[in-house]
């Protein structure tokens, strides 16, 4: 039937979950948000107020059980990272389409289990779609840069430089957050890693990763093997390099910038961050504001993500990226995090296996 809408449920109604719910509720014409779950009654109440008509559940399992009867087709997993994989797998096994927030898990093996479940399920549900929501893939500027690169504007890409840098939060939030975040490379740089794989090609093979970090403002991060500023290098086997920077210490706001440098040119994205097109001329000079958080920068990308995920489920088209890439990104992020803590470079063979050198083994 023309115009049938995709019936979607959202799992998790925290900050980003509530946004996903709102996007699917009101800004995704081909989708219908039918249900939402959260272990927090307060979040359910808020959802009922803001998104009237959506059925709410304290239990994710109950939501799946009930809604499947009403024709539920897709689930957006935006709960706590710790349960991403488990919830995704449950939905996958029911044959539902899944949009899972990044990362699938902070653990590579668990991330891989989502892919395994998906590929298994596809045998009986060949049209099933499961993607991991790397929002920047849906951002108009990144896409424009990618297309320009594809069109040959910069020759052959060789160096990718990228950063994910959060606004300084003096409340200590980042320390608490570090308990579960998987560390700054798995939490922040995973976006840059995913971008590197996108721009360099999904089949790019990592040769070495190394990272160095400091705690400039939050020494307590060390308790959780984390840092507040870190830099990294990823070498690929085909002679390409990614250079990363991540930070929790930006005074002015979110600074997520990237450069892709090729043999004939360079494309930069967001090297001059800005909230909007206003400039303020005052006695101290000319000032512009920049987004405080990633959502201020990437809101439109998340809405595009919702619409494109919906379209690819309804129209059975290819998703913009493969789920396997999400595991690869976690693998690299986790390796960087390990390098950050051990101070050792980590080497990989062309087959993707880690090379463990004798001397390192002694540690």
């Amino acid at each position: 039937m023309v115009g049938a809408k995709l019936k979607v449920a959202v799992a998790g109604l925290g900050r980003m979950g509530a946004r996903h719910a709102a996007h699917f509720y009101g800004l995704t014409p081909r989708a219908e948000l039918v249900a939402a779950s959260s272990p927090e009654q307060k979040e359910l109440d808020l959802t009922q107020t803001n998104l009237p008509g959506v059925r709410t559940y304290l239990s994710y399992d109950e939501m799946l059980q009930e809604e499947i009867k009403h024709g539920l087709q897709a689930v957006v997993v935006s709960s706590a990272t710790a349960v991403h994989a488990e919830q995704a797998i449950k939905a996958i096994k029911l044959g539902l389409h899944v949009l899972c927030e990044k990362p699938l898990s902070t653990n590579v093996e668990i991330s891989q289990s989502v892919v395994t479940a998906y590929r298994e399920s596809q045998k009986t549900h060949p049209n099933q779609k499961v993607i991991c929501g790397f929002s920047r893939r849906f951002d108009a500027s990144y896409r424009d840069a990618f297309e320009k690169m594809q069109a040959g504007l910069i020759g052959r890409p060789a160096v990718f430089r990228s950063q994910t840098c959060d606004k300084l939060d003096p409340s200590g939030f980042f320390v608490e957050y570090a308990k579960f975040s998987g560390g700054i490379f798995v939490d922040c740089s995973i976006h840059d890693i995913d971008l590197a794989l996108w721009f360099f090609g999904e089949d790019s093979k990592v040769k070495t990763v190394s990272a160095v970090g400091i705690t400039a403002v939050e020494p307590d991060l060390r308790k959780y093997n984390d840092r507040d500023n870190a830099v990294a290098v990823i070498e690929f086997f085909d002679g390409k390099i990614a250079q990363l920077y991540c930070s929790r210490m930006m005074a002015a706001g979110q600074e997520d910038t990237s450069e892709i440098i090729g043999t004939k040119g360079k494309l930069s994205i967001n090297m001059q961050p800005m909230t909007n097109l206003v400039n303020i001329f005052e006695s101290s000079g000319v000032r512009r504001e920049i987004p405080a958080h990633y959502y201020g920068r990437f809101r439109d990308a998340f809405i595009t993500e919702a619409n494109e995920f919906t379209a690819c489920c309804l129209d059975n088209t290819e998703p913009p990226m493969k789920l396997e890439g999400a595991v690869n990104a976690v693998r690299i992020g986790q390796a960087l995090q390990e390098s950050l803590i051990t101070g050792k470079r980590i080497d990989f063979a062309e087959n993707g296996e880690r090379i463990v050198s004798e001397p390192k083994a002694r540690l």
Copy 2:
């Protein structure tokens, strides 16, 4: 009932009409696009394909007649400018809410007749909303600038400089368009005039207007008393000035920029036009692209407009601007157009009446 949606019809499915229809169809959660009309069957067909479920009509009158039976609540008038007023008034008389594309008319008296109809209708439909769609009022950057000004950031505003400049179109389109557009000041600068009234205050009283123009690329515009580049000055009685520039000759794309200069600071909007956050580094230097047309710059504003119009109809809240302002803007635009052609400054008394000097009368 919680969540009842505003039933909306769109009149006119040309370039901008089709966009309005799409916005109300899929990007305005609290609205339901129920119908659309156009004298062009092709446009109706396209609408049925793109927006399944919307009822289409070749006749605006028939649409009103039929849809009112199904509970139509609001009409978006985005047909040819020549019928804006007529269509708006018909809807107004039926007690419907109306969002009318700018300008109400290129003629002041006709524009005024819309206001008169509205104010009359309100006597029996006190909650009726009628607004003229000046999209920049809904643009995030203009709003941010306005709020900063209101918050005192630049002291007392004194000088407003603004431009509406279209991309060069060598096809001769602008000549054809000039037959009906009302002229460059009524078509383009009306936005800047509206902005001046917004930033300086709706009750600002015009003292003098004067304009000068040329035909640098389209001499044929003179047949229709129009120009392709023009500059203007509007003096207000409280010692404020607006300086305008409009053009049909921008090589790089749409350049709509504004500055509001106060006694303690300045706010600029879009002085560095850009399509997105990408910069291209190539052998000729660093380049960024800029939107080719106003929709590339103001798409988000139009969507906000749809959503806010819907909200103010449903919630019976005050619209963001008064309909009278739209007449005022046309009055000023038309006076500028006259000055452009006659080469004479036009003076107004504080009561808004035009001062006709003896010597000028002799010409």
Copy 3:
């Protein structure tokens, strides 16, 4: 002899005079600053300290008389505007090269008398050079824009938009200054007028000028028939327009910007003013500083001016601009100033003569 240096004297050692002296003393390899005069002993003392070896005089006339004996070749007139013409003429009559600060005079007839003296003197001193120092003509960015325009990059130039805007000075300085400045159009916009004549061609003929102004921060300026913000339009006979803005009220610093718009493109100069290449990221956003005064923006241009003036005297080459243009600029500036005060547009015939309409004559 190879390497003989041009013997230069500077008249006037105020703010700009002292800078000229320093430029010719230490930053103009082919010149030798031999003498300087000022009616202020303090300024002479300062010069002797800062520029050892330079002979100083309280009397301009005495300086000329003495220095001519020692081979003086050129004079830089940077004294008070009121004596520019008189001092320039005295030097001209002695056959000396002259670089005179702008304006020659705030009065057209007096300005013209300098040209007359020069053309008379040239009969006996055919290699004599006299130029009026419009610094922007020597600015690298303006020159680059001019060359790009000359090379056809923007097609045929049609609209010139330019502003000279001073930093707000709450001390009341600008009121005092208005007594002698000739008014904001003669003092500030004269640069933009000169640029318009440069970009549009020296032989461009003015058709109309009109101006409007306000006193937003300095009502006392009205005592001297001046304003603190003003806008103007200059129409040329060949269908070109210049639109100007001048102000004494910029919060952030000097904002001198220009745009030259042609049938195929646009060149902008300094639309994003900046002091240097530093950006400051802090909690309120991203900030850059801008020059507080014109010298911060144009220092390099003044040094280039000194060097090129020197070269054209020594090598007997053509100066970069004709002296007649300086009179033309004052004529236009003065007309704008009159229009600003009378509220009347001023029309010119193609032969340059002013058209006095009957009605206007009656006022």
Copy 4:
């Protein structure tokens, strides 16, 4: 005596040597360029034409011998890098002031020998000045950033990110150049290393260095153990990090940018490279040009360098940086180059000694 000028000779009249000569000849008021040497007669001829009055020599030694009789006080060494140290030491031993182009040598020990000679010579010439010309130390933007950092604007500096990136030169020049340049880290990044030491403090102690590079456009660079793109990390003992990028592959021109990130803010320098203040609006968008070479970016800094070197010699004031820093920069650059080739991180003890681990020794 008031106004006595510093008598300066320049050794080496290649591209940069000729510029130094011109700066000291005509743009350094307190200096007098008395002599210049070059093994190339053509360069001497050119110098005699361009800088009349300067005595020229084919032999550096002869120049020293002769000019010392005429009161030579200072030597600028801007010959081939291979003879920097030798020429500098000869001048030092004569008690002359020396401004030596960077690097002192591509070899640490040879670099150190210059310092040793200087400190020895100072025993008998306590006022002797010897500096290594790191031009960015004299750049207005870097200085402004440094002062703002010193003033506390960004809190405690923690991360320094910097790049020296040359314009792509398809002629193969960089391959030839690599024979003598010391490698990309010693040739390019040495500036960034010097800046890191400046911003973090001259006594910052390096803990580890590591580098990775590729040959994206010039595989022949590998013959000389060099790369055309490389990234590096320098860890300091006090918990600070420098992240570097260097390249010979920039399409648009020289891109030398830096960021200093502190606990309370960030300062960026030249993140939007530009030649001047002109923007070009054309059908492909908005474009600005950027300097093709470092001299386009740093010309003013070199002139300031000439003037400040002269002043510190004449006035016996402290030079802006210590000569020891130049050795330190080479040491770090050379270590990075080694890491780039071996693929091994290099560790240092707090006393500056290199830590050679057993496993690495086996390689």
